[in-house]
């Protein structure tokens, strides 16, 4: 995992079972509280981390991936959430935006995870190296305490 630009940092490794989501959320909120992040930034972090990790968990079992590696830290004025997994190469930035629904009958029921990442973070970076996907999400916040 590449190093983040500032201190303090936190890291967490979870398995690929959905039951681990609660641990991810608790970890995010604990860190956000320790950094005195505005509540709204903490909520955005929680929402985006949940979407990223859920998406990985959905594909992990069929691809033999077992662990998900998360890190939180600062990059200048931004909070950076890094998520690495060992699933097949997948760049979420390449996924097109879904067409807006025009009626309840034709509304899509899935595929909203990546639009949520785009809307509720302030930047996405992606790389693939050593057999791992590495996604970094940035969240605008004040400087670290």
């Amino acid at each position: 995992m590449t190093s983040l630009g500032g201190e303090p940092q936190a890291s967490l490794t979870v398995g690929s079972e959905l039951g681990e989501l609660a641990r991810v959320s608790a970890w995010v909120h604990d860190w956000a509280e320790g950094q005195r992040l505005p509540p709204r930034v903490a909520l955005n972090l929680d929402l985006c981390s949940t979407e990223v990790v859920t998406n990985i968990m959905t594909h992990a079992s069929s691809q033999g991936a077992q662990n998900i590696f998360l890190r939180l830290g600062w990059q200048g004025q931004d909070v950076a959430l890094e998520v690495e997994d060992e699933c097949g190469e997948f760049d979420p930035r390449q996924v097109p935006e879904p067409a807006p629904a025009t009626s309840i009958q034709d509304a899509r029921i899935g595929g909203w995870g990546i639009p949520i990442l785009r809307r509720f973070s302030d930047g996405l970076r992606y790389s693939h190296h050593d057999g791992r996907n590495c996604l970094t999400l940035l969240f605008r916040a004040s400087a670290p305490p």
């Binding site: 959905l18 039951g19 989501l21 609660a22 959320s25 709204r40 909520l43 955005n44 929680d46 929402l47 949940t50 979407e51 859920t54 968990m57 807006p100 629904a101 025009t102 009626s103 309840i104 009958q105 509304a107 899509r108 029921i109 899935g110 595929g111 909203w112 995870g113 639009p115 949520i116 809307r119 509720f120």
Partner: protein
Amino acid sequence: MDLRSEQLADGVEKISLVGRMDSIGGHDINVRLSALVANRKLLAVVDLSEVSFLASIGIRTLVVNARAQSMRGGVMALASPQPLVAEVLKMAGIDTIIPVYPDVDSACNALMAGAGSR
């Protein structure tokens, strides 16, 4: 997640959801919500005031059940979303296909007015 339902005096079914609509809570609540709304025609208001979190799995739950209700000739509306939940609904355009009201009373009034005009 928790789900509570009650029949209001005007015949509207009020369904209150409580908790996080993520992949854990959302799955459980989808089964229980479907059991309530998918098999009979209703005027249903889903009170979201105690839903603190709406992930993409929660969008799926709301769309699937609103669609099922629509196909039966009923209406499922949403009421009282918290700010983050309201933003997720707006981002996905759900607020243009499922009516969203600021509170349960205004949702009930709108559903009753709509039922009267049909």
